[in-house]
Symmetry: C2
Subunit: 407 residues, 2 copies
């Protein structure tokens, strides 16, 4: 008997028809003799609606009340899916985070899971009850409701798979796997049969929306076998494991792009390590993640500091930066919204120095100017003007021989 | 320092603008030096939406999963109002039922409150934190989520006022008090300054929608001073207490009408007390409340049984009755949807036998046929054809001298 955690995303539970379809999938997996635990996201769109309410009431403050509101979305779908399963004659019950409990720290809207006891869920398995766990939410040691950040239901699913020693965690979504590039941009993009944790982490971190990066990191850490597949069409999806069959030619596994990016330049900041520390500490305190950073000092002891952050964090970041501007007395804050981050990702890159040169050559051939670069062992990311997105992704997909990739 | 429980209904928290307005009301009450606990309903319409989902997934079964789904509505508004209060610079936090906890029995969608410890709420008062309690929901001893039935937030508010020994429980709604009749039907209807628990209970039970009848019963039992008032316009509202100043002429305090009624006739049921018991036991087991009952036996040992129930329960009641029909083998089930229950209510009725005769005379003058009658110490209810509603209510309002009533 195998044990699987099945996670269904927002589009998979978007309405009652979809929920009935999901119930059928769960039923099939159960009838195949497997032990199944389910994790659900909120209905597509509902979290955005709830965030809209909280922002209009309290735009400049994040407290745990924000989390109380947002957690309601997954509560609704967990109850509804349990009902749908009962409608099919199966035994099922919903679990809210506090009923398990999924313990987290107390960071509003970015909580981290600390501990998940398995007693309640094992009791369900023993009694042939299918547990349907509300994703995305947790509870502090003081019993306050928390949420895990956008896409947090993936993290819930992986964490549950880890503590339950599940044979696999299946992430059901609206695409049938992980692609070499966004198929809406690149017609020759193809589905990957498998991909390594490291590659998937970079794909997710660099903008591929199929999985939350943190959940991949967690899966890698706890060696949870992952699979991404569609709840809409039958397909084996993409397996995410510790190794993939590396054919020599497949140095690069995919091209990701992320338009949720903004570039900030702070001009004429007094050159001083303390100042740099202050800037990034203040941003961190306000839960604003900074990505690529470039510092260019000029002869007059002033420097320009450029960095990228999520465009969706811009509204929260700007007041913080204005305050720092007053403190450090620098001359200007320049914001550029019209950018995209393109990332070339592949575990084969480690042993292949040609990747960077192919990347630069390809973009140069199309007169695309690179504004910022960052690299890791298995990826190179560049910031370019946003309107070049389709051109750059398609050209790189061809240049790295992904067009002919066997799936 | 007075202590008040303020309860805000669905239209009062229907959107973020309304929630900000509610936060202002709470702020004023706090700044006046009072200790305030707040109870909120779900946003107007949201419970209906959630019920729609649960019914389409599992139409013929009520399990606690239904309650898990529905409870999300009040979770959202409790978090949002806490945020709105924080936005005004006040200390506030939401409370979900399990955090207090509000213990109930385990009847799905009709749970009854068993116990409410006050430790957490008293802690809030001590620290000047305004608790915003999600109404309508509770939690069983096994930590499963329950709901208290439609309008259950009123019950939450009254129960909290009782355990907290509050000086008053203010029920904020979209009307500015209790009227002698529905002002949309009767132009001369006037607002009552005060009304007794008994009268209010009958008004609520007979169709006046300002308060849930159960909450009035609870207030009466625990001597909780109640007030119904509007969150939309400034007004003192209507006080509900154990006594009102009875002027001799005001025998009748109001006319209620309830169109959520259906009349069922079971024809040719074998005359037998066991059969009657079986019918009503089966309905009770399915949580279907029966109201007025008339039994007419015929010489051939068969009887016709007529009773009323809520029109909204009809879909659930009919399959139950069809099954009973098979068991008892009677000839027919006749359903009449086009009826209304009109109730004349007044504590003065006890000592005044003219009420019934005025009622019958008035309806007769307008050729309105009475189908069923039921009486209690302080009310007379009749079932008539639905299309007579405005005519009957207006005529009775005049006949019982309510047109000239001082408010």
């Amino acid at each position: 008997m195998a044990r699987y955690v099945l996670k269904f995303g927002g589009t998979s539970v978007a309405n009652t028809t979809r929920l009935e379809h999901v119930a059928e999938i769960v039923k099939q997996e159960t009838e195949a003799g497997n032990q199944i635990a389910v994790v659900v996201s909120a209905m597509a769109g509902s979290t955005n609606e709830l965030v809209g309410y909280t922002h209009s009431l309290c735009p400049h403050q994040t407290t745990l009340e924000h989390d109380v509101v947002l957690a309601a979305g997954e509560q609704i779908t967990s109850g509804l899916l349990a009902l749908a399963l009962q409608g099919l004659g199966l035994k099922a019950r919903s679990f809210l985070s506090w009923q398990i409990p999924i313990r987290t720290d107390d960071s509003p809207s970015h909580a981290r899971i600390l501990d998940i006891p398995t007693t309640e869920l094992e009791k369900c398995f023993k009694n042939n009850i299918i547990p349907v766990v509300a994703g995305f939410q947790g509870v502090t040691k003081d019993d306050r409701v928390t949420t895990l950040g956008r896409g947090g239901s993936d993290t819930t699913a992986v964490a549950l798979a880890a503590v339950l020693s599940a044979d696999r965690c299946d992430i059901y979504t609206d695409v049938d796997g992980v692609y070499t590039a966004d198929p809406r941009l690149v017609s020759k993009a193809s589905k990957l049969t498998s991909i390594t944790y490291e590659e998937m982490f970079e794909m997710a971190a660099q903008g591929a929306k199929v999985l939350q990066a943190r959940s991949v990191e967690l899966a890698m850490k706890h060696k949870v076998n992952l699979r991404v597949l569609s709840s809409f069409i039958k397909s084996k999806g993409t397996y995410i494991t510790s190794e993939r069959n590396l054919v020599e030619s497949t140095v690069i596994s995919g091209i990701a792009h992320n338009q949720n990016q903004a570039k900030i330049s702070l001009l004429n900041v007094p050159s001083n390590a303390k100042n740099i520390a202050l800037i990034f500490r203040k941003l961190a305190e306000n839960l604003i993640d900074v990505d690529m950073i470039v510092q260019s000092s000029s002869p007059d002891k002033k420097m320009d500091l450029t960095f990228t952050l999520l465009r969706s964090d811009l509204d929260r970041a700007l007041p913080v930066l204005e305050e720092i501007k007053k403190t450090l007395n620098f001359s200007e804050i320049i914001v550029d919204n019209e950018i995209v981050k393109i990332s070339v990702i592949g575990i084969g890159m480690k042993s292949n120095m040609e990747v960077a040169s192919t990347l630069f050559k390809t973009l140069a051939e199309h007169n695309i100017h690179i504004q910022l670069i960052s690299t890791s062992e298995i990826k190179i990311s560049v910031i370019i003007e946003q309107h070049y997105t389709p051109l750059a992704v398609t050209a790189l997909h061809t240049a790295f021989n992904l067009d002919e990739k066997k799936i």
